[in-house]
Symmetry: none
Subunit: 126 residues, 4 copies
DNA sequence: GTGGTCTAGACCACT
DNA sequence: GTGGTCTAGACCACA
């Protein structure tokens, strides 16, 4: 379900957080679905339970999942009043990537067509 | 020239790296321009020279600048054979951001218009 | 009668405890009224009976209800010699909240008007 | 600076979080002040550094402090656009306390005078 | 069984 | 020196 890359500069818990965000955003995990238990995921990823725990509590504090203690963690409902700070941070991350693409010599046209492709592809899934 | 934000989650050295990337990508710093010396920038930003040094090494290893020992650091020429791995990584980072924006409820239209704005803005400068 | 919110950070048993405290404090449940049986409430709320049992024990230990074995749980009489330690703890909890509200930029006036509203609203019900 | 009560039902890290919130809200710690280092506080409170770390990262995610990695943690500036969810949660906590005070037999008048006292006292400090 | 907290002790990146 | 991450292993409260 989630692929870890130990060589990555991203920390393990961050990879897990981003992995779940992706699964949720893609619709593979839907509202109300149960996430694997902390211990279970820890053993499948051969990672310490504390690390999973950290990932889950981060996801919870960012409102991607909610926790029912004693039962497990579940995908939260899609917020319709997104945190503006989160949006700003996502946009600025994209902006920086675009800047670097342009510098690396990719043409405006190429970038735009690729981006449109992403948006329409993902848009369908949602 | 470069604005540091201590409250940012980004480390200082990373902010400096990204700051220079932006200056170069924007065309404010052009091919062959000399960067400030390590000591000079360190005192301007009231930052440890080691931190500046680290930023410069990183920029050099990513081929944004080159070092002439004894003279200083200079902006490298814009590559026209971009590293395909770098491109892929940039695109996938953007893709993930887009996916999250869509999940957060931003419409395809909104995203696309914002992206076009970024691209054309940056495109002019370069 | 009692609304559970699984997404709440509060544990289920705590929500039940607080729910009954509210019903009693509001006067909806009056002195001597019988609470639903453990089994009954468990099935209404689709919750494990152990959880209900725990809530009831907690309410009893805090003197909100009393148990007649074989008959059920009943609302206790309103104490007129409140435990001073309990009062102190409640006041200090309020004090801390007020302090945080002030820090968050809410004006004294706003806070006071809101508090008066709470008190008079609750006061009527009791 | 911070008093731990091991008997409290509050977890240690939560007591530390609330302790710092209080110090900041009271004005004892002002904007830009440095918090004790993780290791230092850990040894003064004879608590594991991880526990302090958790407290600090919680305070950071709630925007009470900001972190400069390699330098330390500092009190953030007072937000003027408070998180409405935070306000709601503070108000509802107060409301519940008031409800219980009323049930315990404290009169409306007593409560209100006590609350006014709190507000005006704290208001002066800020 | 679930999540949550805590300790002990290690290692890394950044300043 | 600073904070941040990770492991190993324990214990608790809740369902």
């Amino acid at each position: 379900m989630i692929q870890l890359d130990l060589k990555s500069r991203k920390s393990i818990y961050e990879q897990i957080v981003d992995g779940f965000k992706e699964l949720i955003a893609c619709g593979i995990l839907k509202e109300g679905d149960k996430l694997p238990s902390v211990r279970e995921l820890a053993s499948t990823l051969t990672v310490n339970p504390n690390t999973i725990q950290k990932s889950y509590s981060r996801l919870e504090s960012e409102n991607w999942i909610y926790t029912v203690s004693g039962l497990g963690c579940f995908v939260a409902e899609r917020s319709h009043k997104p945190d503006p700070a989160a949006l700003r941070s996502l946009y600025s991350e994209i902006e920086e990537c675009i800047m670097q693409l342009l510098f690396l010599g990719v043409t405006e046209k190429e970038i735009l067509s690729k981006l449109q492709e992403f948006v329409s592809e993902r848009g369908k899934q949602a």
